[in-house]
Amino acid sequence: MGKNQVRRGFRGFTLLETLITALLVELIVAGLLHFTGHVLACYHSNQVESREALELWNRGRDIRRVRPNSPDTFCPVAGARPLHRFILSNRNGRQWEVLCAEK
């Protein structure tokens, strides 16, 4: 009894204390990973939305360049030529209005 004692008075860490410490460290690591995953998800979402906005922008410019006819016309000033109106929307429902003159 007491043959394997390291030092008298130094209790050391019990298994239970070590397991509690392990649990706390695991919680910290899990929180860190969760935060990292959230940041990566935000970055990916931002990338997608940025690319989509740019594609819509370029589509709007292509429409104005080609100037197709649309049944939805808009006359900004009385007497002026009507403008053809096109509505572009992304997957989030945000809408862009493209106006272009007739050919």
Partner: protein
């Protein structure tokens, strides 16, 4: 058995082994986190420049690239790697005065080194954005100007051997390149 009997050797060994495993697990999670944070910081800098550049250049180009009726100069002109845009849009009285003296009536864009530079009128080229690798200009016709910016990260990424370059193409419609809604009189 006394309460303060101390830890037995086997308990201490188990604690040390578990402690090492915990430390390794923490480092194993912290190192990738540090790598990701480093790479994301570089990518964020690159992407913020690539997102901001089209907005600013659309504002400048759509004005300077117009070619109103009766002007002798070309609205859009490319010389080598430099893009020139000219348009008389303002004057001292608030109307076009036939000269290109006002701000952003005549601008030039180019990529030199790793800087995207802009020059207004007779000034010198000033860096507008850093870490740009190239600028490509394409004109589908007189009205539509397509610009492709290539940005890159300030330093190499840790997670991938690539330099982290990315291209952004955006189009600028020169809405007043020809008489548009009403016939213009110079």
């Amino acid at each position: 058995m006394p309460k303060s009997r101390g830890a037995t050797l086997i308990e201490l060994l188990i604690s040390l082994a578990i402690g090492c495993v915990i430390l390794l697990a923490f480092l194993g999670a912290a190192v990738p986190f540090q790598t990701i944070a480093w790479d994301l910081s570089l990518l964020h800098d690159r992407d913020s420049s690539l997102c901001l550049a089209p907005l600013l250049f659309c504002k400048w180009i759509s004005g300077a690239g117009n070619n109103r009726a009766g002007h002798s100069w070309d609205g859009v002109q490319q010389e080598g790697d430099t893009l020139h845009l000219k348009s008389d849009t303002e004057g001292q009285d608030g109307f076009p005065d036939g000269r290109l003296k006002e701000s952003y009536e005549s601008i030039a864009l180019r990529v030199k080194g790793s800087d995207l530079q802009i020059r207004s009128e007779g000034g010198s080229f000033q860096p507008a954005f850093k870490n740009f690798a190239g600028l490509q200009v394409h004109r589908a016709d007189d009205r539509l100007l397509s610009l492709t910016f290539e940005g890159r990260t300030d330093r190499s990424l840790l997670s991938t051997p690539a330099e982290g370059s990315k291209q952004v193409a955006f189009k600028v419609y020169l809405w007043n390149y020809r008489p548009n809604l009403f016939e213009e009189t110079p």
